[in-house]
Amino acid sequence: MTTCLRCSSEVGETEEKCSTCGAFAGPPNVRAAEKLEEQVALERRYDEAVSQSYLDGSDAALMSFDVNMELTFAVVNVDIDFLRQFVTSDKMTFSNYDLSVKGQIRKSAEATHDRHRRTIGAMLFGGYSEHIRYAALSLDGGGLQSYGAFAIKLRQISIANRATLLEDNSYNFIAKHKLQGGEEIPPGYVAKWDERHKLAVSKLAKTVSAGTSEAEHPKILLRSTGDRNTDECIEVHIYGGFDNKAIESVRGKSPTKGKYEIAAISLIKDCLNQSQNAWIEE
């Protein structure tokens, strides 16, 4: 339980606000990752991995991997229509003609989420699963192609205070740990954003040997197979949505055929350029 800083009432673990006074208590996923048992368990896994590396003689390679894991960021893969809509959504020329009726979106979303609570997200986050957005941890800007051909790299400042990490993608994690509804997830497999390198080392130390080069690190961290069932990544959980101001860069391959596709990418690149975000050609 968290104590409300304003009125001292207890705030439920899945609540973001104090139900007594409405004060913001902090993203519940971050509060969950900050629990002492989580931190101690992760620290222990991390220490074990580091200690083992000394025995294996892979300590230098692991240290290099560890340092690189601090440089990782979150990417979200999307397709061309999503990307176009996302980058133009705040441009007056485009938004002027949008007819989104907020109430309608909200109702659709609420209805959808009400039912979605019985799903994987609910097992991990309970009542606040509808607030969680998912991304993958990446070192080189590449993401999971099974979610779309274009990888949006999110600015660290836009997520650092509200992002946590899970060792695996949620589906695989639940399956691997044979978790049933209502069961607590074992400690040591989630991390705060600032400790993502510890989670990466804990998970992946065994794949780092004395001969592992830095060039191999991105692929060790994230394996995109084009199939969601076999993709491997560390999943980033972001509390709350984000808009296109959160973009730092977009990585993808420019299409060479299809008038719409070519024009849409040109439009996207212009918009990124205007907001001083980079397009990274694959």
Partner: protein, 767 residues
């Protein structure tokens, strides 16, 4: 069976629910629907795309796909058309967009969709229709060209139509949301687009407008979702015709200068809050109206509120802390005695002091004094805040005032003695402590302070005795145990110090400080691996212990694992953003790693006038950084200043040590000896050892080899790697020990000189 479908044509996706599972259909491929992963739905809804919902059990997968594909083409076409109009895009992109739009609009329904949208809103200023028309001409896109040309002619009537709608609609809809939904239907059915075209005709043809009203007023598909459509359309027509007869006034636009007239948001500055708090306190008696029934609840709440303010203070969020404080005091004053409120303020001031927020601490004490409570604790807290902030003479004055008001208060007397000790007035301090310990032999704080002062003056035997007596009297006094071990360390009896620290750690396993002190002594003894192990254990037990984290990083630094040390420091700074110890440790590491700009950036918080003990330490590191980058005269001036001006004897001592090294670096050996020889007797064992080594170096350079050899013989430390290796390098470099002549041959003078310089710098930096 499909139970519900959401179509998001703007992003080319449809989500449908089958047996309470969600699947996503992608317009860009023909693949079977894929089950949604967590977050898929949220992300799609975050895109800002429009959503149309089909709630029907009769819809099949194929019809969902057909709807999605049309919707996707329509939105793509709209986006491409808008791209052709957007003047912020490059000419090439605009041309590509127009070409794509032309291709997509070959389908009649897609063209109608785009027109319905474009004629439902006036063009924003970011568009350039003329440019769009030219672009359409150049790429030979006749449909787009015609659309843009019509659009140019219809702008006036689009304004007219929307103004009329705004005037009429509130009468028919209960809320803004309902009105927006109605407007959306009119747009999607093309009502506004057709009306805009009809109204633009020249000469104006009312029959064309009437036909549109009749056409849509009888359209069953519209009536099924908006039964009042005929009345709405009739009213809209009436208003349109009236407005056509009365020329429309242009909407006033807001000039840039008008924004100045807008009321600025109220900024509640901390000064306002301070005023509010003082008012609250001074009006206290008038405001006290009722007493609570459940005292324990009140106490619990106050305790929690104090903790909340404290957390904010530690985080450095003083503005919010002040706001919370107002709430805390409002409640506290209503439900508690003034004395208790004053004690809470003092507790918070102590927290603020520990977080280096001295000004905030002083402000809290202003509130405490404003309560007019005569409690020595308020005076003592103020004195301690002043002492910590470097205003030691003022602290002494406050203690004197406290003692005159409360002559028997042991805390005030003990604090007074400690402050005298800080000022180097050791004899007076010891006299007061002796009297206090005689008068109150069971005052463990006084006893520990007395022993600490004895240690400071170098009377280690007496300090040792007092600590042992205290331990005998109070076997649970961890401070006394640690003090004893530290005294043994200062005496150079490292084995006993280590043994004692080990015992203390075993006896007080929950004391992070005990673990830390044990690891520190192991580090001093040169057993860095064991030190690292103890820190590891401490971190497992106390993962948030700032002492353990900083000590761990420092040990890594000593082991030469600079990158790892940097990582731990950075983590610690993230975990404890206001912690200056971690910041300084990191800055010191950056000096070693020659990251001088980073050092300047990290220590840019230092005030112009250095007062507090912590700021002096930061000032020392910054000075060493400048020395290392070659600014030797500047460094000497700063070290001289620290050596003279710092109020604390141990702080002055390490400025003196570093100044000696700076003089050696400048080859001013005689001056170096003069500085390094001062106050040596009061230094602890390690400081003494360093000084002897530096003095020996200076003497050797002056050719006083015999004297240098005898001074170097005083350096008895062999466990501290740096001191030991410096001693060896000096012996070799200056042939001070003929027995070891062999090693001289293996390293030349240049190498040795470099080693000596590096070791001396490191030892001077480590203070």
């Amino acid at each position: 069976m499909i139970q519900e479908t959401l179509i998001l044509g703007q992003i080319g996706k449809a989500i449908h629910r089958v047996d309470d599972r969600y699947f996503v259909i992608d317009a860009s491929n023909q693949r079977e629907p894929v089950e949604c992963r967590p977050g898929d739905v949220s992300l799609m809804l975050d895109s800002g795309a429009e959503v149309s919902s089909i709630l029907s059990s009769t819809v099949d997968f194929e019809s969902v796909r057909d709807s999605l594909e049309f919707s996707t083409r329509a939105y793509r076409s709209l986006a491409m058309t808008l791209g052709g109009l957007d003047k912020s895009l490059t000419a090439q992109t605009r041309s590509l967009c127009v070409e794509a739009a032309e291709e997509l609009m070959q389908e009649n329904d897609v063209g109608a969709f785009v027109k319905a949208r474009l004629f439902a809103r006036p063009l924003p200023t970011s568009t350039d229709v003329e440019g769009g028309i030219a672009c359409a001409k150049s790429v030979e896109a006749p449909l787009v060209q015609a659309l843009f040309t019509d659009l140019t002619h219809s702008q006036e009537t689009i304004h007219l139509m929307l103004d009329s709608w705004e005037e009429m609609a509130p009468e028919f809809f209960n809320s803004e949301e309902e009105q927006a939904a109605g407007e959306k239907l009119f747009i999607e059915f093309g009502v506004f687009a057709k009306l805009a075209s009809a109204l633009s005709s020249n000469p104006f043809n009312p029959t064309a407008v009437n036909s549109i009203i009749v056409e849509y007023g009888t359209k069953l598909s519209l009536l099924s979702v908006l039964p009042r459509a005929p009345q709405i359309l009739n009213n809209l027509r009436a208003i349109l015709f009236r407005r056509l007869l009365i020329p429309r006034k242009k909407k006033p636009t807001l000039k840039a200068t008008d924004t100045d007239k807008l009321q600025a948001p109220i900024d509640v500055t901390s000064t306002d809050i301070s005023g509010a708090i003082l008012n609250l306190i001074t009006d206290f008696d008038k405001r006290r109206l009722w007493k609570p029934s459940k005292q324990h609840e009140v106490e619990e709440r106050i305790k929690n509120q104090i903790a909340a303010v404290g957390k904010l203070v530690l985080k450095g969020e003083l503005r919010r802390a002040n706001e919370f404080l107002l709430g805390l005091l409002e409640f506290h004053l209503k439900h508690s005695e003034k004395k208790h409120v004053a004690m809470s303020l003092c507790a918070l001031a102590t927290l603020a002091r520990d977080a280096y927020s001295f000004e905030f601490a002083k402000e809290l004490l202003v509130y405490a004094f404003a309560l007019n409570e005569q409690d020595p604790f308020i005076w003592c807290t103020q004195a301690e805040v002043l002492r910590a902030s470097g205003e030691i003479e003022s602290a002494l004055t406050v203690y004197e005032e406290a003692i005159s008001l409360f002559p028997n208060d042991e805390i005030a007397i003990g604090g007074y003695a400690t402050t005298l000790s800080d000022l180097g007035r050791f004899d007076e301090a010891l006299e007061i402590y002796e009297a206090l310990v005689d008068r109150t032999p069971d005052n463990r704080i006084a006893r520990d302070g007395y022993a600490e002062t004895l240690k400071r003056v170098g009377d280690f035997d007496s300090a040792n005795k007092v600590y042992r007596e205290t331990i005998h009297m109070f076997p649970d006094d961890v401070v006394a145990y640690t003090g004893l071990a530290e005294t043994l360390k200062a005496m150079g009896d490292l084995d006993s110090a280590c043994k004692t620290h080990k015992e203390v750690t075993a006896r007080f396993p929950e004391s992070a400080e005990a673990h830390n002190a044990y690891a520190e002594v192991l580090k001093d003894m040169g057993d860095l691996d064991s030190s690292l192990r103890i820190y590891h254990e401490a971190l497992a037990r106390f993962p948030r212990s700032i002492f353990a984290r900083n000590g761990y990083a420092d040990t890594l630094k000593n082991l030469g694992k600079l990158k790892s040390a940097a990582k731990v420091y950075r983590e610690t700074m993230l975990l404890f953003p206001g912690n200056r110890v971690a910041l300084r440790g990191y800055a010191s590491l950056m000096v070693i790693m020659d990251q001088f700009e980073e050092v300047e950036r990290l220590l840019s918080y230092l005030p112009d006038k250095i007062v507090s003990r912590d700021d002096w330490i930061g000032f020392h590191i910054l000075t060493m950084s400048r020395m290392k980058r070659g600014q030797i005269d500047d460094a000497i001036a700063r070290l001289e200043y620290g050596w003279q001006a710092a109020k604390w004897g141990d702080v002055r001592a390490y400025f003196g040590t570093a100044l000696g090294v700076a003089r050696i670096k400048k080859k001013e050996y005689r001056e170096a000896i003069r500085v390094l020889s001062q106050d040596v007797s009061s230094l602890d064992h390690f400081q003494k050892q360093k000084r002897f080594a530096f003095i020996a170096h200076s003497k050797a350079e002056l050719g006083e080899v015999k004297d240098a050899a005898s001074t170097l013989a005083e350096v008895s430390v062999t466990t501290n790697r740096r001191i030991a290796s410096l001693k060896q390098a000096l012996l070799d470099r200056y042939n001070l020990n003929p027995i070891n002549a062999q090693s001289t041959k293996s390293r030349n003078a240049e190498q040795l000189q470099k080693e000596i310089e590096q070791a001396e710098f490191y030892l001077a930096l480590a203070a």
